[in-house]
């Protein structure tokens, strides 16, 4: 059993959720004077998250503290600003995991199992040299998706019989990812229509979000600058122009890159003309398909760097490559679409 204090500090747990369920709170109730403190605290959570990138727990009134978390999440679902949603989820999950990593292993283990349903078990005391826990690779893989450091790659982890060894702090870090994903999922779409009385609250959060998160430059078309393309793209072009053949994924990466970099259709077809297996009709069809003028009508964007690595398309990465996750980000930085210090939006892939 967790203590009252634990519920306030970790309001995302199964136990805290059960506690809230028993309170039987509905969205309309939030507008009543009686529940006002919850709404105030929820707003405070959001404000702190957006401006200070953390959320400090308040433990004097556990009822308010526990309920303020799902309330804040619910409020964020009405906020029309994707970046603010991401920032909120990040601040909450980060603050939780910072607290969590100080906890005894048993507590971390219980949360992972009971709240998130992880298949995780302790490594016996005497064998804890390279890890405290064994986590099933499935939950491990789901939660390392956004972690880029090499130490998280499955390749560099002790893996046996389907289980990955983890240190306590690492487990806390993965729980952070799990919470972040769940918060983001819940803030995606509002569950109910927004009560009239809450509209001002949402508006004021949106105003704050607008000032604290950078606005994205609207997509514009620009002239293609090959010299500013990442090394992988240059290499693909080089291969083509020397009469070489590209793999299916290489072809897709190049075409979708060019489409998104603003190249005209004839220009793209032109690149493929020197290919040894050039077929004008087919190439045109593919270009039209990728640019969203045929078939599913979706404009495709190139695969992210990790995917290009897996399929052997990534070649000779340079210094800038180390800092980005996506070939288009590389290009946009080079041609100056991102100002210095501006947060780069992550590409959806």
């Amino acid at each position: 059993m967790s203590t009252e204090r634990d519920k306030a500090r970790y309001p995302f747990t199964a136990e805290a959720a059960e506690f809230i369920r028993k309170l039987g709170l509905r969205i309309e109730d939030l507008t009543s004077e009686y529940y006002r403190p919850i709404l105030v605290r929820a707003e405070q959570r959001i404000r702190q998250a957006l401006t200070e990138f953390e959320v400090t727990p308040q433990e004097h009134d556990i009822n308010i503290e526990v309920t303020s978390f799902p309330t804040a999440v619910m409020l964020m679902s009405y906020v029309n600003n994707e970046l603010a949603k991401r920032r909120y989820a990040l601040a909450e999950s980060k603050s939780f995991s910072e607290r969590l990593r100080e906890e005894p292993p048993e507590k971390i283990l219980r949360i992972a199992k009971e709240t998130f349903g992880w298949d995780v078990k302790p490594i016996p005391e005497g064998e804890r040299q390279t890890g405290d826990f064994l986590l099933h690779f499935k939950q491990y893989l789901t939660n390392i998706r956004n972690l880029r450091e090499l130490r998280w790659k499955l390749t560099n982890r002790p893996l046996r019989n389907g289980y990955v060894q983890l240190m306590r702090e690492e487990a806390a870090r993965l729980i952070e990812e799990e919470i972040q994903r769940r918060i983001l999922e819940k803030t995606k779409n509002p569950l109910a229509k927004l009560p009239e009385a809450l509209q001002d609250t949402i508006k004021s959060i949106e105003r704050l979000a607008a000032t604290s998160t950078p606005t994205q430059t609207p997509i514009q078309t620009f002239d293609l600058k090959i010299k500013d393309s990442p090394p992988c793209i240059k290499k693909l072009i080089e291969t083509l122009s020397s009469g070489g053949r590209l793999s299916h994924i290489g072809r897709f990466a190049l075409t979708s890159f060019l489409v998104n970099a603003g190249a005209k259709e004839e220009e793209i077809v032109g690149f493929f003309k020197s290919a040894s297996d050039f077929d004008e009709r087919k190439t045109k069809y593919q270009v039209e398909h990728i640019s969203g003028r045929r078939g599913g009508k979706t404009k495709y964007i190139p695969p992210k760097c990790d995917t290009l690595k897996t399929h052997g398309v990534c070649s000779e990465p340079d210094e800038l490559c180390q800092r980005i996750k996506h070939p288009l980000t590389y290009y946009k930085i080079k041609i100056g679409r991102f100002k210095k210090g501006q947060v780069q939006p992550t590409m959806k892939t």
Binding site: Q129, T130, F137, K138, L141, T142, I144, R145, L150, R151, K153, L154, T155, N156, R157, P158, L159, R160, N161, G162, Y163, Q165, S242, G243, G244, S247, H248, I249, S274, A275, S276, D277, G296, D306, T307, K309, T310, H311, G312
Partner: protein
């Protein structure tokens, strides 16, 4: 007869043989688990026509369809769908088997220079191995390639398949019964893992599994394997029983140091003095790797680790595994590139399995005109090389040549 007509006659002969085969062996086709949730695809003998988005609830329905259409190749989706016949974006993906394609196309083998051919479309110049960037004679850039299967290529593919299966079982905890191993009927093996554990993994997670198999992103420092060996290791030892890539590398090093002969050691690209020190060690004290490792210099350690990693990597087609909508050849059906049966292989029997003999599907003989073919093996016999000759060959050999487009039927004179 012009060229096109000759080859059309060849395809007709193959189709007739396939028809006969499916008429007699309908019940040998083993449909996949939950067949009603799969999409089926059929490549027809009509040039390049693919029938897709089909589904069948009963093996008998599938059998009837195959007998009626006589496709050259038959595929099914590794994916499970709510509605397999709907267009792609409305099928309702509910999961996918984890599949692997091991193909000699992706493995460097010396023999390819002998049995694989290219031919310049413009001037007809031809040569062995992979086609050049530009034709040495006419500077043309378009080529027709003919690839052949051979024992050496298939042995290499077998080694990769064994490595993969070992890794799935040992590292990922897959059960033996969940691993379905199939010879593709051409140059490799397909491995299907039908397991709830992998079923709903997305493309990103499958990509990470692929990276694990191919050793992508491997960092020796993180694995505590930088020089000097052992010292940086918190547990103090480095053994073949270590989990993950540490154990894989240790087992490869053991293979290199305790078991490999001079020739394969040389092929691996180890320096001569390293090879000699390995042989010397083995003669005197060689019982395990730790003693050897203790004394090596930095350069040797680096080289041995590097080669051990190369040995332990699994050579797979990365795109197949990460594609969660992939169609894959249905076991028990014929491969249109060879006329051989794509066949299920018992994992235990893999070392003894002879893909060029046990998957032969036809009986009798056929008389054909062979334009050009290298020396090849099928059904336990060797044939060729051939150049512009009429031959009467066992049907499986003749069909192989017809499938490869290297021959056409000799029309019997009407008396």
């Amino acid at each position: 007869m012009n060229n096109e007509a000759k080859h059309r006659a060849g395809r007709n002969m193959v189709k007739a043989r396939f028809h006969e085969y499916y008429r007699r062996n309908r019940e040998n086709i083993t449909p996949p688990k939950s067949m009603g949730q799969r999409e089926f695809g059929f490549l027809l003998f009509v040039e390049g026509v693919m029938l897709r988005h089909k589904s069948f609830n009963q093996p008998s329905e599938l059998g009837k369809f195959i007998e009626a259409t006589v496709p050259s190749d038959i595929y099914y989706s590794a994916a499970y769908y709510m509605d397999p016949e709907a267009p792609m974006d409305r099928k309702g993906w509910t999961g996918s088997d984890l599949i692997f394609d091991i193909d000699a196309d992706h493995i460097e083998t010396e023999c390819k220079k002998i049995h694989d051919r290219w031919r310049c479309d413009a001037c007809g110049t031809s040569g062995g191995g992979k086609p050049p960037m530009i034709c040495p004679k006419c500077k043309g850039q378009r080529f027709t390639e003919t690839t052949w299967m051979c024992r050496e290529c298939l042995e290499e593919a077998k080694i990769e398949a064994s490595k993969l299966i070992d890794l799935l079982i040992r590292d990922f905890g897959v059960n033996h019964e969940e691993v379905n191993l199939n010879f593709s009927g051409h140059r490799g093996y397909h491995i299907h893992v039908e397991s709830e554990v992998f079923k709903n993994l997305g493309s990103d997670e499958r990509k990470e599994i692929v990276d694990y198999l191919t050793g992508l992103g491997l960092d020796l420092k993180l694995l505590n394997l930088s020089y000097p060996p052992g010292e940086s290791d918190i547990s103090g030892k480095f053994t073949v029983h270590d989990p993950g890539w540490r154990g894989r590398i240790a087992r490869s090093i053991e293979e290199i140091i305790l078991r490999m002969d001079r020739e394969p050691l040389g092929k691996l690209g180890l320096r001569r003095e390293v090879i000699e020190s390995i042989i010397e060690y083995r003669k005197n004290i060689g019982k395990d790797i730790s003693e050897f490792i203790k004394d090596v210099d930095r350069k040797t350690w680096r080289q041995i680790i590097h080669k051990a990693v190369t040995l332990a990597k699994v050579n797979i087609d990365t795109v197949v595994t990460t594609d969660i909508h992939r169609l894959i050849r249905l076991p028990g059906t014929l491969n249109g590139k060879t006329g051989l049966k794509a066949s299920k292989v018992n994992v235990k029997d893999l070392p003894r399995f002879d893909p060029l003999k046990e998957t032969v599907a036809f009986e009798g003989e056929e008389r054909i005109h062979i334009e050009e073919a290298p020396r090849f093996e099928i059904g336990g016999e060797e044939y060729g090389p051939f150049k512009d000759v009429d031959e009467t060959l066992p049907a499986h050999a003749a069909i192989l040549l017809l499938c490869k487009g290297s021959a056409y039927p000799v029309v019997k004179p009407i008396v």
